[in-house]
């Protein structure tokens, strides 16, 4: 081997080592994004509209990458979390309001995930009155006892479950040509159900917690500015993974539930039908396993990270390395979200949960535009970002993305007040 190529090999090996050290925030964010709400929404999209919504995944992926790349870059360059930056640049009141909204939005997300956990466990025959408290206690102990870091790898490994969808699609012999054309060729129907579904897909895929979470994890990893390029790959790979998973869930559901079935999903058992070509009678168990894993993964991360940002933004002590006495607000917030989320799922009937999920959708809907606008302004600041501030081309893409996202999110808020059209939050009601 010549000297140059040997050096190149060494260079590549070194890059790979650094990449493995840097990788994580994007991929974890992406996998948490495929939580119970995500799985149900993609299933419903495929079940009710076949392949015709696949084209939305490409713009969604671009938007996700643009937005998440921006926060990751801010995290690397400033070494500060998004809540910290907003507090330092926009003051206490703004931060307080945003944190209040984040709290409300993520309470709703936690509820949705415990509900997903309950419906997954119902396929194993467990009552939600037993499953939910046990699940909540498990998550709470996992995090408070500090074993989360190890279990995170288990959650991540269990995400291999998503491979079941491409395999199942393969066995179901979908119309691949049709599916691929539908992916690249936008089609549009002015039918209310179709529009609602698009809004739902965007809403469930791009959520405000992701920006806070990703920036905080990039900061926590202490990634050097020099390694920033690798962070960008982490984001790109992660976000593409999310949407590849979404793609196969939609295709699998389109090839099964849409083609031969009821075209609607009223329960976890209905959604599991998509896995029948692969798993046959065991489809329910396979689906339940994936749903339970996704729900637990998200319910470990969301309440904890919410407690972090709220405390950091407001300048209160936070962190699991502190004792309860030192950081009471932090622990109360975390415990409150877990216990509150679990209680709501246990005590309230699905109809009664609707106002809470509605509130969370509205909070998300107000929060996302604010976060996007603050983010865009911060990432253009020369004193914060220096040479890493947005380029003009990037700004054009980012502002366009944000404006479309804001419009769709506001539509989502409005549409939330028509609960009959909400397949992505209450799968039970979509049949009607």
């Amino acid at each position: 081997m010549s000297i140059i190529s040997r050096q190149r090999v060494r260079h590549w090996r070194k890059t790979l080592v650094i990449f493995l050290a840097v990788v994580g925030p994007g991929i974890i964010t992406a996998n948490v994004d495929n939580d119970a709400g995500g799985i149900y929404t993609y299933s419903a999209a495929g079940a009710s509209h076949g392949y015709s919504l696949l084209w939305t995944l490409i713009p969604i992926t671009v938007a996700l990458i643009v937005v998440q790349e921006m926060v990751a870059r801010m995290g690397v360059v400033t070494g500060k979390g998004l809540a910290d930056l907003i507090r330092e640049e926009y003051g206490f009141r703004t931060t307080f309001i945003l944190m209040g909204l984040l709290l409300a939005a993520n309470l709703g997300n936690t509820v949705a995930n415990f509900a997903g956990f309950a419906s997954g466990m119902s396929l194993f025959g467990a009552s939600r009155f037993i499953a939910v408290p046990v699940g909540a206690l498990f998550v709470w102990l996992l995090v408070v006892k500090g074993t989360y870091r190890q279990v995170e790898k288990v959650f991540l490994a269990a995400c291999v479950f998503y491979l079941a969808y491409p395999v199942s699609s393969f066995f179901a012999h979908p119309d691949w040509a049709h599916a691929l054309v539908a992916t690249v060729k936008p089609s549009f129907h002015f039918d209310a159900g179709y529009l609602f579904m698009i809004i739902g897909l965007v809403g469930t895929t791009i959520a405000p917690w992701m920006q806070f979470y990703q920036q905080a994890s990039v900061v926590e990893k202490g990634i050097k500015v020099r390694d920033y390029k690798l962070v960008r790959w982490d984001v790109i790979i992660g976000m593409i993974t999310t949407d590849v998973v979404a793609f196969f869930i939609i295709v699998a559901c389109a090839a099964t539930i849409y083609t031969n079935g009821s075209r609607s999903i009223a329960s976890a058992a209905d959604a599991a039908v998509a896995l029948r070509p692969l798993a046959g009678q065991a489809a329910g168990i396979l689906f339940a396993f994936g749903l339970v894993n996704a729900s637990l993964f998200a319910s470990s991360i969301l309440p904890l990270s919410t407690a972090y940002y709220v405390c950091e933004g407001l300048g209160l002590e936070s962190g699991l390395d502190k004792r309860f006495r030192e950081a009471p607000t932090f622990y109360w917030l975390y415990t409150g979200l877990v216990v509150g989320g679990a209680m709501i799922v246990m005590i309230m009937s699905e109809e009664r949960q609707i106002p809470i999920i509605l509130m969370s959708q509205v909070a998300n809907g107000i929060l996302l535009p604010c976060v996007l606008i603050y983010m865009l302004r911060l990432s253009n600041r020369i004193d914060l970002m220096g040479e890493y501030r947005n380029s003009r081309t990037f700004n054009v893409i980012a502002w366009t993305t944000s404006i479309v996202m804001i419009a769709l999110t506001l539509l989502l808020v409005v549409s939330s007040f028509f609960p009959g059209r909400l397949p992505w939050i209450t799968p039970q009601s979509s049949g009607g």
Binding site: K14, T78, G79, K80, R87, E88, G91, F92, R93, F96, G146, V219, G222, K224, L314, G315
Partner: protein, 413 residues
């Protein structure tokens, strides 16, 4: 006592009672007086920013500020790096509370109105980080001031006297202009400085480390995770990094250099004193998870025929940190390890006692390539404080100390 939340947005009038604008920010000029508000920034109509100096102020109250000069004598505000601005540089920013050894975020700033020669002056009293101050920020401008005082009084108040506040300014030139020094911070225990460093972003860490003396910086750095140490040392100049690494215990220096990209660690090593660099280089060769990767080369050894007198002479000549010397090591003429003598035994023995008579029995040691788990097991089993490490021919190479083992255990958890 008056709060910044109450001062902000106050109407400002000139000597003739003409409305000038609203109070926007307050500036202190630390090169003249680090407590007195030297400049009042007033946002005038048409986006103009006026600048009133403290000599031009007549009176200050919760209702208004009045100047003692007419409007036409006031100049426009020109940005000034030497001015510490309360709203821009202090409010909502992280500062170090030196007294409580913590990083806090400022919610409000407390002032005193001081009459001087018949005029009023504002003096900074404290930074406010309590819940009460947070409530004031939230309600500011939404309710009458006395009502806000009433409500915020229901919540806890936490103030830090201004002299205990250490601001963090990443720009070194501005640090000089604002007279920010970290003398008080440097007096804290290195472990506390380390905790504070961990709370800061990299630029802020850099600001603190650059202003500490090399020895304090090295001790504080040793208290933060190795990855963070490496990232921080990479971001400062190689000369300064070399000065700091020289002051670190050789094993920690080797750990942090191993964490850096080779081209940078080579630069740091090149800038270090020859003696220290050689010691650290020797340690760099060992695998990370072996006894060799854990050991330090700072230890005291004497020939095995020496007496207590000789041991004391060796200790007097030792240049490293004495507080980590718990045992002395005995070697023969071939540098082969033959014994270990606890310091306390030397203390109690006659000057003429041969050290070999005081050696601990049995002698416990490990080969340099032994797994770290074996190191931990030996420390646990024999209740060790230090453990000598040898090569295949039993030459003494270094010593593992219990602090390294403890760190290993804590990190593994």
């Amino acid at each position: 006592m008056i709060y910044f939340t109450e001062l902000e947005n106050l109407p400002v009038f000139d000597v003739k009672g003409e409305f000038l604008g609203r109070l926007f920010d307050l500036g202190v000029n630390p090169s003249q007086n680090n407590l007195r508000v030297a400049t009042y920034l007033v946002r005038a109509p048409k986006k103009k920013m006026l600048c009133i100096t403290h000599e031009q102020v007549q009176s200050i109250s919760v209702r208004s500020v009045q100047t003692r000069v007419p409007a036409d004598q006031l100049r426009d505000f020109a940005p000034d790096e030497g001015l510490l601005r309360i709203k821009k540089d202090v409010l909502d920013q992280q500062v170090i509370d030196v007294d409580n050894r913590k990083v806090v975020r400022v919610n409000d700033v407390d002032f005193d109105i001081q009459p001087t020669d018949g005029y009023s002056e504002l003096r900074i009293v404290a930074a406010n980080v309590g819940m009460g101050a947070a409530v004031r920020r939230l309600l500011q401008g939404l309710a009458a001031k006395h009502n806000i005082r009433l409500v915020s009084g229901l919540f806890s108040s936490k103030t830090i006297p201004w002299e205990f506040i250490n601001l963090i300014e990443p720009d070194p030139a501005r640090r000089v202009k604002l007279r920010i020094s970290y003398d008080r911070l440097a007096e804290l225990h290195p472990a506390d400085i380390g905790d504070i460093l961990e709370e800061l972003s990299r630029d802020e860490q850099k600001a603190v480390i650059e202003s500490l003396d090399d020895e304090t910086a090295a001790q504080a750095l040793s208290e933060i995770p190795t990855r963070m140490q490496a990232a921080l040392l990479e971001s400062i100049s190689p000369e300064k990094a070399a000065d700091i690494v020289e002051e670190m215990p050789p094993d920690e220096a080797a750990d942090v250099l191993q964490e850096m990209p080779p081209e940078i660690s080579a630069g740091v090593l090149a800038d270090m004193e020859k003696e220290e660099a050689k010691e650290v280089r020797g340690l760099l060769g060992f695998e990370e998870n072996t006894a060799g990767g854990l050991m330090t080369t700072e230890f005291v050894f004497v020939g095995d025929t020496a007496t207590v007198e000789g041991a004391i002479a060796a200790l007097k000549n030792f240049e490293g940190a004495l507080e980590w010397i718990h045992n002395l090591y005995l070697v023969d003429t071939q540098a082969v390890l033959t014994g270990m003598v606890p310091l306390a035994r030397i203390l109690l023995a006659e000057a003429s006692t041969p050290l070999a008579d005081l050696a601990a029995d049995p002698l416990i040691y490990l080969p340099v390539h032994a797994d770290q788990r074996d190191v931990v097991d030996l420390f646990h089993k024999y209740n060790l404080v230090t453990l000598p490490v040898v090569d295949e021919r039993c030459h003494l190479l270094g010593v593992v100390t219990s602090d390294d083992v403890l760190e290993l255990m804590v990190n593994r958890k």
